[in-house]
Homo-oligomer: 257 residues x 2
Amino acid sequence: MNRPLILISNDDGFRAKGINCLIDMVREFGDVIVCAPNSARSGFSCAFSGLEYLTLKRQLTKVDGTPYPEGVQMWYTNGTPVDCIKLACDQLCERRPDLIIGGINHGDNSTVNNHYSGTVGIAKEGCLKGIPSLAFSLCDYDKDADFSPLTPWVKRIVRKMLDEGLPHGTFLNVNFPKCATFRGIRTCRMTMGEWVKEVYKCAHPRGFDYYWLVGHFENAEPQAEETDQWALNNDYIAVTPTTIDVTDYDLMRTFKL
Amino acid sequence: MNRPLILISNDDGFRAKGINCLIDMVREFGDVIVCAPNSARSGFSCAFSGLEYLTLKRQLTKVDGTPYPEGVQMWYTNGTPVDCIKLACDQLCERRPDLIIGGINHGDNSTVNNHYSGTVGIAKEGCLKGIPSLAFSLCDYDKDADFSPLTPWVKRIVRKMLDEGLPHGTFLNVNFPKCATFRGIRTCRMTMGEWVKEVYKCAHPRGFDYYWLVGHFENAEPQAEETDQWALNNDYIAVTPTTIDVTDYDLMRTFKL
């Protein structure tokens, strides 16, 4: 019998620390194929490249020059996180993956940021393909963030996914707070809120204006203990089960034109 | 009292026929600000530009050289559809928009394609900002598609949105079948299914392979009369109410690690 096949991607690029830590955490559970963007693709959501051609290259060595171990293949593309999953499933995986993982992201993907996240886009794409999928993110944007406290939790979650799978049409968005010791794990709902002061206007010396998207998230319900941001703010790991079916059934039944 | 302010964007670019037809359909209802990508951004989902600077330019005349009418401002950016909404709300709209519309898209955005669509991304972004929002798409990819049969329906839907709004956290994904006369309108749920044969591999004469994302959607439930693709296949307009909160509440209650 084949070992489980785990397909991994991210939106920080194949050289990022987070994805390389994830490989080391999960490779004991099966064969690992990684297909990740050649550089950062943060905020890419479920974008795919309908208009550009894609390339696919193999990387044999880690950043430190040592080879990737037996059972791990590292590939990178010029595409989006979702492109990576589509390409890998079609071109790289000789059998159907048993699990698809996005991450570990350098930064928070809880709340409505779920919709913008390329890391979450990976899990959504896996789920759309009917494969158990999840996204891992650490609430620390530092490129040298310490992922080691996550190790036992990542292993526990991955083992459970491989053993039990997930209901069809649902994936997990898992966010870890930035702390050395977690108080535990909480299953949450998505926190509602809004991004504010999103545009930073600059004057170019040649006389035109240009803009950077920045801003910060304003939590509309900071006291709601069942939300993912509450969990993270209180040093819990937040697991937000997320659906592919985004129909509003209440309005579907009542909407009249 | 101010006239209603309608903010429009698309993912086909500001010169596309669909967005220009939409402007003509809705400008009787209020002031119109358009902020659209400078060229096609299909499949951009909710992607935003966190790493690139953005520009914003005004276009005074239509493709045929005539000026945009009084009460209509046309702007374009180098960004994504979601960028357009963020920029327009911050930089172009002197008051809060009363309605945000994506489209009219050249092509189908029903089914799980909801997740990939830049047109739907616009409505999602509007909804995240707490503004009544919707996406219009016509199931015809032709750049010269005939949008005229949509006119009375678009007006009816826009008038209803301006009069009544929508429940907080929900927007409408509206798809029109390609036909001269519609049998009516149906409120639907998202059709489930999967994209297959998505990767087309090519050999470059210089000896490397490259890939195009193509494929087709396989409907997993073609007989389900409550789905949006069934409605479209039967010449009905499909209105799919879509939620921002994508939590799977069933799994949230039962998931244990």
